[in-house]
């Protein structure tokens, strides 16, 4: 796996569904707080 503990998280931009709207977002905008970044295979499946 490319990512290791202690690495700087790679930055990315994306679109997100957020509280009823579509919004652009960028990971680096969350610097200064902790982030839980959570991947999952598909909507309509369990956690």
């Amino acid at each position: 796996m490319g990512i290791q503990i202690g690495d700087k998280a790679p930055d990315f931009k994306a679109e997100a569904y957020y509280r009823g709207t579509t919004q652009g977002m960028q990971l680096s905008h969350y610097q200064g707080q902790w982030v839980l970044l959570l991947f999952y295979p598909a909507d309509f499946t369990f956690v």
Binding site: I5, K8, L36, F39
Partner: protein, 152 residues
Amino acid sequence: MAAVAVKYPAFRELGTEVLTVSVDSVTTHKEWHEKELSRMVEGGALYPMISDPDGKIGHLFGVYDDNSGLDLRSHFLIDPQGVIQTVEVLATPIGRNVAEILRQLRALQHHQATGEFMPCGWEPGKPTLTEGDDTPSTSGKVWEVWKPRNAF
């Protein structure tokens, strides 16, 4: 994801934002949110649900599965400096344990605040070690301060 939505206030109390990612479109996220998530959890998911249609974000983090064309079930805890502090990847058939993610987060925050080390099974209030159990000064002496029952 509903379990994460339920615990979202706990993450916020720990000064943590939640970002979820799958290859689904924003439209599919919206449908899932309206049809299912908001019925399972009051208010639904209050965090950004990111769309990764071409798996680019999954690729960046090493969790995109070329065979299925999906992002693997995984999580990363990123500290306020943008540094990755936890990496966990699960086989697709297995759901994650949100309480464990919160425990990891509390342990990481406790370590950054105090410099202490959190041994196996640590929960807030349980004993910590003041140095890593593999450092020379505590090597062979962990048994004096930590018992296996503390792990459970």
